[in-house]
Amino acid sequence: MGRKEMIAMLLAGGEGKRLGVLTRDLAKPAVYFGGKYRIIDFTLSNCAHSGIDTVGVLTQYQPLELNRYLGIGSPWGLDRRDGGMTILPPYVKQKGGVWYKGTANAIYQNMAFIDRYNPEYVLIISGDHIYKMDYELMLEHHKRSGADVTIAGIEVDWKEASRFGVMHIDDEDRITAFEEKPKNPTSNIASMGVYIFTWSQLQKYLIYDEANRSSNHDFGKDLIPAMMKDGKNLYCYSFKGYWKDVGTIESLWEANMDLLADEPPLELSDESWRIYSVSPNQPAQHVGASAVISSSLITEGCLLEGEINRSVLFYGVKAEKDSFISESVVMPNVRIGEGARIYRAIIGEGAVIQAGVTIGSPDDDTITVVAVDQYVTNDHLLQEVEHS
């Protein structure tokens, strides 16, 4: 087998607790986004466009749907004889099996997989973020700076900085300080959770970290600070562009709404950077005689008779006459009955909103979430609909 210069390890085990009912039976990377995608499509498409042909996908939480979705990686061009996509769940070894204890431990447990390709560099990414990024440019930066690890960084709002690992950098992009989720951040350059390691260095630190009993086995909390302490070369690759962690109901909703701007910050129709996904094989959407649609993103297989404003509709949504959908994200195969009104909501896959039901309110800023396959009638509204 040929040696690979760089392979990718994609962390896709995220439980996505803060997404509530949307991740009850689904790993976070498999959550729907943007009218026809799942969150993980973005990182996988980035790999495809960055010339990375070997990707290990580390799964753990609720992998069934995710595994089925990923298949052998064909939609992302990863069905390769040499390399391609490999799903890496935790497995039982001679001394018994263990779950992945943290992000670093997940990679540690799959060192044999990486060694098989004997790469020079390893790209660590996660299936939780929405962004378009050329990892090849980041690799060039890594090589040029002679770094042991390069961390992609992006400027975030000062208010939000404490949610991330933040970095201080010098004029040459060298990281001079790194703090994981600081209470009082002193920098607003956040780590995007995208790392390029020189494999020999990563290998060494994974083994150190595993032996350290007080470690959480996490990249941000343990491994990066350890490298920092040892005076290794840590560099930041500054990313300018759209990047969003869609870990909460609010951020998931907001990121979907971002797509509706006349000049969206994340362009999906960029021909040179198509986001690939599994095709649901649905006919073109049918916009009926009584439908009124504006400022929306709508996919194949929808049958629409209602009024739809500033919303994102996934495939197979049926919206009957006099229904009204505003500022909402409607996931696949949802049925919205006659006269139903939906304001600022995320409707889970397969849910049925009975005729005449109102969800949310035009005067309320909270986002209502309807769980997957929920049947919502006026009587059950309070019990069935969860407020975030």
């Binding site: 129709s269 006919p283 073109a284 959407q285 916009v287 005689a289 649609i293 709508i298």
Partner: protein, 370 residues
């Protein structure tokens, strides 16, 4: 499928009066229904019926066909032992290329003989329908037929051209006539034939020995008394698409939600080449009613009773009515388009006014700039 059946999609000498739409492509790859090509309907039907080996007898202008079908993986026809086989004419002699389908079947007889499958389903590409062939095979076996012809009772074919069929009370076909024949019958042949593979090979060899090389006109017509030929009545939606008017009118029929639900979903989904276009975008100020919109479209103007294929852009102030705009078409600002069919990549500049008639839609060829 329980029974061992192979599919044959026969593109040799298909009736084609689609004018400019088939100038650079064969009938099988004419875009239809906002995101499909004509061949997708019969190919998907075969796959949904459990047929896992399909041969496409390509004939002329088949570059777009090869491009569209690729390895067959979009129809799940990429298998180790079976799958999709595109068979262009196995000769470089012009005279021989123009000979009938039996001649070409004979040229590829190894393909048939090597297969262990017992039955063949032979179809064309221009019959737009969604059919379960398993039921046809079942019927074929129950009738102990030699040949089963799939038929449709439909008074108005919307100018599509199809052969007419006459049957007795038992469903046995007594006569088949070409579309211009004078026989009065409202039953049309869907040009789908089921028979044992051995019988097909026998018909190929005996007919060719008699100097006859057309499957239907020669091999079947002339043996209609000797063979047990039965008609299976198909109940679903049928569009016979081989003239411009039938193309236009069958397209417009898709705007009826009932036709849309039936043709695209029942009994199975229709597959096509995946393009990875993003969802369609409707901007503020867009007005769309009674239309089919494919992914990748960007609508800023008004669209009424129309079909937009993938990646079409209707700019501000533009009005598109009763029209079909194929892949990546652009309608410039404040232009007005009515009763028109624009082939792929047609670009209508700003402030243009294009009007065809319902009975004779305006037709713009591929990549034209208006």
């Amino acid at each position: 499928m329980k029974h061992k059946v192979m599919g044959v999609i026969n593109l040799i000498h298909e009736t084609d009066e689609l004018e400019r739409l088939t100038q650079g492509r064969c009938l099988a790859t004419v875009p239809f229904g906002a995101r499909y090509r004509l061949i997708d309907f019969v190919l998907s039907s075969m796959v949904n019926s459990g047929i896992s080996k399909v041969a496409v007898f390509a004939h002329t202008k088949y570059r777009s066909l090869m491009d569209h079908l690729g390895s067959g993986k979009h129809w799940d026809l990429q298998h180790r032992q079976s799958g999709l086989f595109v068979l262009p004419p196995a000769t470089d002699d012009i005279q021989e290329i123009s000979r009938g389908d039996l001649y070409h079947f004979y040229q590829q007889r190894d393909y048939f003989n090597r297969s262990t499958l017992d039955y063949v389903v032979i179809t064309r590409s221009h019959m737009v329908c969604n059919i379960d062939f398993e039921k046809v095979i079942q019927f074929h076996l129950e009738q102990e037929a030699d040949i089963t012809v799939v038929c449709k009772k439909q008074e108005d074919l919307l100018t599509g051209k199809a052969r007419k069929v006459m049957m007795d009370e038992d469903g046995r076909i007594t006569a088949i006539q070409d579309h211009y024949g004078r026989m009065s019958s409202d039953v049309s042949s869907m040009e789908m034939y089921v028979m044992r593979k051995d019988l097909l090979m026998e018909l190929v060899e005996t007919s060719l020995a008699q100097g006859q090389d057309h499957l239907v006109r020669h091999a079947i017509f002339s043996r209609i008394d000797k063979l047990r030929v039965f008609g299976y009545m198909y109940e679903g939606y049928l569009g016979v698409v081989n003239t411009i008017t039938s193309y236009y009118r069958n397209s417009m029929n898709l705007l009826q939600p009932d036709v849309w639900k039936e043709l695209f979903y029942q009994p199975g989904p229709i597959y096509t080449k995946v393009k990875d276009e993003p969802p369609a975008r409707y901007l503020g100020g867009s007005k769309v009613t009674n239309s089919l919109i494919a992914n990748g479209c960007r609508v800023e103007g008004t669209v009424v009773n129309s079909i937009l294929f993938r990646g079409v852009h209707v700019q501000k102030g533009a009005i598109v009515k009763n029209s079909i705009i194929m892949q990546n078409g652009v309608v410039g600002e404040d232009s007005f388009i009515q009763h028109s069919i624009l082939d792929k990549d047609v670009r209508v500049e700003a402030d243009r006014d294009i009007r065809g008639a319902d009975s004779a839609p305006f037709l713009a060829g591929k990549r034209k700039i208006i």
